[in-house]
């Protein structure tokens, strides 16, 4: 049991069977919804099209600016002899279900990708809005991921403007997170974005994860009390992206900082063991 063999057996049988039961039904629902949305319910499509065309124009200008910035960044990196951040490949996955059954007391989701698709244990799960969580259990074609709002989730983050580090901890509620271990004199602003620090090696650096909503100071604590909200809408997830490290990324992760790795691994073990 301590080797995790029984857990793997349960994931390979029970989780797979549940996935096999849910997948056809979800496929039917998805196709029926698509049929309704794309061929029957066409009200407002003309208006939406105009709006999207306008957005495309605006985004084209922004893309041109971003290209310039990327080129500049490359030049500066070359000047400073910095290696580029390790690249991570992406695999799309569909959410089959939120927590299911009497055992699902942890806030988790079930995905339609398993270790055969590269969704192994600890694979980061994100959306275009931000980080969602990471995979804790994986069968051949189905996996289970712990959401970042679960009480057992711990993610090392850094604030985007002031570069203040902290540990983002779930509160059990889908719309509240706590940033812990931020020193009382550290600079931090309300509304500031929190991004993954990348130091623990579990997540790539710089993924947007949450926004700070309140900062309070306590007279008896050495740390600030910081509350944040997740950027990804976790209550209505349908599709997510799984990030898989490329060989370069794996090499870069071989020497993570010990402190953060310990806390992250511990939290992950707490969630799975």
């Amino acid at each position: 049991m301590r080797s995790g063999a029984v857990d793997r057996f349960a994931a390979n049988t029970g989780l797979e069977f549940t996935g096999a039961v849910l997948k056809p039904g979800k496929w039917v629902v998805r196709n029926a919804t698509d049929l309704w949305d794309q061929y029957i319910y066409l009200q407002g499509v003309q208006k939406e099209n105009e709006l999207l065309l306008k957005q495309v124009k605006d985004l084209s200008f922004e893309l041109a600016d971003a290209r310039e910035n990327v080129a500049e960044l490359k030049r500066l990196r070359a000047l400073m002899s910095l290696s580029p951040p390790p690249t991570w490949s992406r695999v799309a996955a569909r959410v089959l279900s939120y927590r299911i059954g009497v055992q699902a007391e942890l806030d988790s989701i079930i995905l339609d990708k398993g270790y055969m698709d590269g969704a192994g244990k600890n694979t980061p799960v994100v959306t275009h809005e931000g980080v969602v969580g990471r995979i804790v259990k994986s069968g051949p074609t189905t996996s289970s991921a712990l959401l970042l709002t679960d009480l057992n989730s711990r993610i090392a983050v850094i604030s985007s403007n002031n570069r203040t580090r902290g540990l983002l901890v779930g509160s059990g509620s889908r719309d509240e997170l706590q940033l812990k271990y931020v020193p009382i004199n550290a600079e931090l602003e309300e509304g500031e974005l929190l991004v993954t620090s990348g130091l623990a090696g579990a997540y790539p650096k710089g993924l947007p994860i949450a926004k700070i909503v309140s900062i309070t100071h306590s007279d008896i604590s050495l740390f600030k009390t910081v509350k944040a909200v997740p950027l990804a809408s976790l209550s209505n997830l349908e599709e997510v992206i799984l990030l898989q490290p490329t060989p370069e990324a794996l090499e870069a992760n071989l020497e993570p900082l010990s402190g953060e790795t310990a806390s992250s691994t511990n939290a992950e073990q707490n969630a799975t063991n």
């Binding site: 029970g14 299911i100 059954g101 007391e105 942890l106 289970s144 063991n273």
Partner: protein, 162 residues
Amino acid sequence: MRKSKRPLFKNIFWWLGYTVVAIWMQFAIAGVDFFMPAVICSMQEENPRQTFWLITMFALIQEGTGAIAFGSSTLWYCSALLLMYYGRWMFDANNFFFIVLVSCALGVWNVGLTLLMANLQSFQVNLQLLVADSCLLAGLIPLVWLILYSLRQGFLRNVNAT
């Protein structure tokens, strides 16, 4: 003469069908064990082999879909077995009010078992959610059992008649 295996296969397909429906019901209502009424029904039929295979399948499904380490589902179903086994000494096992009592006891035990496993496996549990899930579980088990029991009786009559 060799005994026909048709009723056995019918029975297997019946339980497989119920398992699929139960998974979808668990998908719709999170935190509730829709397999438990099946275990209770199977015990009432006094078919130990069937109960054993059902518990094995249900425990694997619950353990596989749950995010915590292996063990709690096995304990969960074993404790339900003990509860039913000893409860039958005092009450009529097919009585609805006995099932209500069993489901209330299971609701309380769900809180206790999850907190015990949380301590043993060092993870934190949202207590408010756990209590809400357990109340829902205690309320739904007798209702699902009532439907399942009548369906099962109809199936068994049909199989015995053929």
